[in-house]
């Protein structure tokens, strides 16, 4: 055994005089290298398939150089536009004409029109229509007059303000759009007109429905978990398999089976009619609305609540309840004062898991949500696949991610992540 000696200046050293810290480091280096090598494949996989795409999407939400690269002269000329209460000076119009001809030649005018149209609906047609005539314009003295003559919208301050805003590669425009905000003509951030507000209500609905799903799974999952945890292991294992069975069934199958059950001509309505509780004309709409989404999501996410609850409850010794009762507490009081507080780490883990999963849920609301049961992820998918406004999709996703992280931080603050038990 190496004897450590204390040297006043160098601290502890081993028997041969090597500083203890360095000796320890050297002794542990091999183990560290091996551990690192073991996780490397996963690390690379995660970096390529997970971290990089997320980073790229987040980047896309604040960076967009379409206008900067396709309308370079216009973007430069905007420097001359000092009085923002007036239309831009002639130099901007002239530069814009040059850019427009160029984009028409390069067949990139569509990209410009699309990008501008995302920002201000209706601008696409103005762009494409004007561009069709720009090659015919000869000997133009005032491009400003030509444009306004071509389409009176070119004489609107807002049109030019929009193009100018898009002329900055870095911007928070997508985040404003994602929170139903916009710039007014004077460059102040204001709420969009009420009739065009979409995302804030959808975010609120998403949060509200996620909260409901979390509460419902807790309400349904807690007694089940308690029951499972108190049963002998053989029986509880069997029942656990039944809880997990949905896990092994396709999400699509589970969701569509709810259509069969909850549909207007579905099993549940048929039974209610047969029992005479409702008339044949009074069949209840239980699917393709929020109810459908709530029911299906609750069922699908229930195992994520049951598993952490069960794993925590399993570790709570039954003698706690017995002790509480022997000390004079009736069964319910004993449960509430002694058992329930000890299940909190499981409740926290389950609730956090279900809430985070449901906040980004996509397939189920898409299939059974109808119009009123759509959640934010359905809109993100819409912008990714249909409208191809990836910047907005990225901004919506970024807000969602920030929300989840905030929640996680809050949970960490209140309960402590180290107490999280996921089973």
């Amino acid at each position: 055994m190496a004897q450590a000696t204390i040297d006043e200046l160098q601290g502890l050293t081993t028997a041969d005089g090597t500083p203890l810290r360095r000796a320890l480091h050297r002794a542990e280096r091999r183990a560290k290298i091996r551990a690192f090598l073991l996780v490397t494949p996963l690390l690379v996989f995660l970096a390529v398939t997970f971290i990089y795409p997320i980073a790229q999407m987040l980047w896309r939400s604040i960076y967009d150089d379409t206008i900067v690269t396709l309308l370079p002269n216009t973007v430069t000329a905007f420097k001359d536009w000092t009085d923002r209460d007036q239309l831009p000076p002639e130099s901007v119009f002239a530069a814009f004409a040059v850019d427009m001809k160029q984009t028409r030649e390069d067949r990139t005018i569509g990209q410009v029109a699309t990008r501008v149209n995302f920002e201000e609906g209706g601008l696409r047609s103005i762009f494409t229509r004007t561009a069709r005539h720009i090659d015919d314009a000869k000997n133009v003295t005032s491009w400003r007059d030509w444009f306004i003559q071509e389409n009176p919208d070119w004489g609107k301050l807002n049109t030019w303000a929009t193009i100018e805003r898009l002329g900055h590669a870095y911007s928070i425009l997508q985040y404003l759009a994602a929170t139903d905000r916009q710039y007014d003509d004077h460059g102040n951030i204001v709420m969009a007109p009420e009739e065009t507000q979409i995302y804030v209500p959808i975010f609120i609905r998403t949060l509200w429905m996620s909260l409901l799903v979390t509460l419902l799974t807790l309400l349904l999952g807690y007694p089940i978990s308690y029951f499972l945890a108190t049963l002998p292991i053989r029986t509880s294992n069997l029942l656990m398999i039944m809880v997990l069975l949905p896990f092994w069934t396709s999400l699509l199958v589970r969701t569509t089976s709810w259509i069969v059950i909850l549909g207007k001509e579905g099993v549940l309505n048929d039974i209610l009619v047969w029992l005479g509780l409702i008339s044949d004309d009074g069949r209840i709409q239980m699917i393709y609305n929020q109810t459908g989404t709530l029911v299906a999501m609750t069922q699908i996410l229930l195992p994520f609540m049951v598993l952490p609850l069960y794993s925590v409850m399993k570790t709570i010794s039954p003698s706690y309840m017995r002790a509480a009762m022997s000390l004079g507490a009736p069964r319910f009081l004993a449960f509430w004062k002694v058992y329930a507080p000890n299940t909190l780490p499981g409740v926290g883990a389950g609730a956090l898991l279900v809430f985070i999963l449901s906040i980004g849920y996509y397939i189920t609301p898409a299939l059974v949500g109808g119009r009123t049961g759509q959640m934010i992820s359905n809109f993100i998918a819409f912008h990714m696949q249909k409208s191809l406004n990836w910047g907005l999709a990225a901004a919506l996703g970024g807000i969602l991610l920030a929300g989840v992280l905030l929640l996680y931080a809050l949970y960490n603050r209140l309960v402590g992540v180290e107490k999280l038990s996921l089973g």
């Binding site: 010794s317 003698s319 017995r322 002790a323 004079g328 069964r331 002694v338 000890n342």
Partner: protein, 364 residues
């Protein structure tokens, strides 16, 4: 023995079955008197814990009555029995501080705030943990947790305190210390304690009376000294303390004070008939190792046999000597490590002798 009006707990013909096919507790009858320290001792699966759980109210008797202070308990739920209990792993509530744990039974009884605080402090002082009220159970050592559990079971002044192997998780030294501490608390407070353990030395140290359980039946209910010195059957003799067993048949009964037993090896031993059914019946002779004399003076003892020393184990205060004698090679003699004790050598031949009353003829 308790006088009739002093009986606090009475089990009458209590039986318990979990599966409807076998009885875990068979026809149990005990009277526990007020202020008594009664230990239920037995190997695991002998029914002692089931008996305790029935008394606490966590298990229902399949048949028979349990009375506490003259009141039938069978249908009284656990929280109305007013019985304090110390659990095997203490069952201290981990999310409460020590003080909150102690206050719990008082709060559910709706005691006033100042009374609760005062009684909690008194209970903590009683177990010498006066300054530990704000700690969590996890911050205490095993022995401290044990004391808190004890204080919690006593703080609401229950009529009866049950303890289910409360010292099982402690190391030997601490266990022995706590045994004395519990015993002294019992003496000071005059409480009635029913204590479950499988550790016979613990039972001997602490109890007023011990009920030895085996196979769901009380084999013997007696004071520690009676149990050790006058075991009624082979199981008790075997279970309590160390014991040399010699198997044989009763050859002749000479009244109630002596009998002649022929061992399987053919040797004849004079013994005290305790639990033999008659001449010719098989019997187990029980003999405590410390009652065997080495090379006794000629004619002093009725039973003297030749033996060979097989093994010597040095244990400090005594030397455990394993000999072969009359066909048994596991005959143990304790040689005290006193001044001038006989020093034996392995393989040497000695004479071993004992008195009639130390050699008890029990059931086979």
């Amino acid at each position: 023995m308790a006088r009739k009006n002093d009986v606090l707990v009475r089990f009458t013909d209590v039986q318990k079955s979990y599966d409807g096919e076998t009885l875990v507790v068979k026809n149990l009858n005990i009277d526990i008197s007020r202020g008594e320290f009664l230990t239920l001792l037995g190997p695991s699966g002998s029914g002692k814990t089931t008996t305790l759980m029935m008394l606490a109210g966590f298990e229902t008797p399949t048949h028979g009555d349990i009375e506490l202070g003259g009141k039938r308990l069978n249908n009284v739920p656990p929280h109305k029995r007013d019985i304090g209990m110390v659990f095997q792993n203490y069952a201290l509530f981990p999310h409460m501080t020590v003080s909150e744990n102690l206050a719990f039974p008082l709060q559910v009884r709706r005691k006033g705030r100042s009374e609760v605080a005062e009684r909690v402090q008194r209970a903590l002082d009683m177990v010498q943990l006066g300054s530990f009220g704000n700690r969590r159970p996890a911050q205490l050592s095993g022995g401290q947790q044990q004391r808190v559990a004890l204080a919690r079971a006593l703080v609401f002044e229950p009529t009866l305190v049950l303890m289910d192997e409360p010292l099982g998780a402690l190391d030997k030294q601490l266990r022995e210390h706590m045994q004395l501490e519990i015993k002294h608390l019992h003496e000071q407070l005059g409480i009635t304690v029913v204590y479950v353990t499988h550790d016979q030395s613990e039972a001997l140290t602490m109890s007023d009376r011990i009920a030895v359980f085996h196979d769901g039946v009380i084999q013997q209910l007696a004071t520690p000294s009676d149990l050790y010195e006058r075991p009624k059957n082979a199981f008790v003799a075997q279970f309590i303390g160390e014991n040399n067993r010699l198997n044989g048949k009763v050859a002749k009964l000479n009244g109630s004070n002596a009998c002649l037993v022929t061992l399987d090896s053919g040797s004849q031993v004079q013994a005290l008939p305790v639990n033999v059914s008659g001449e010719g019946s098989p019997t187990t002779l029980s003999l405590r190792p410390e009652r065997v004399q080495i090379n006794p003076p000629e004619g002093a003892l009725p039973n003297v046999f030749d033996a060979k020393v097989e093994e010597l184990i040095y244990l400090g205060d005594h030397i455990r000597t394993r000999c072969s004698l009359a066909g048994s090679d596991d005959f143990v003699v304790k040689v005290p490590n006193a001044q001038g004790h006989s020093s034996l050598q392995r393989g040497s031949r000695v004479k071993l002798g004992w008195a009639i009353e130390d050699c008890r003829a029990l059931d086979a």
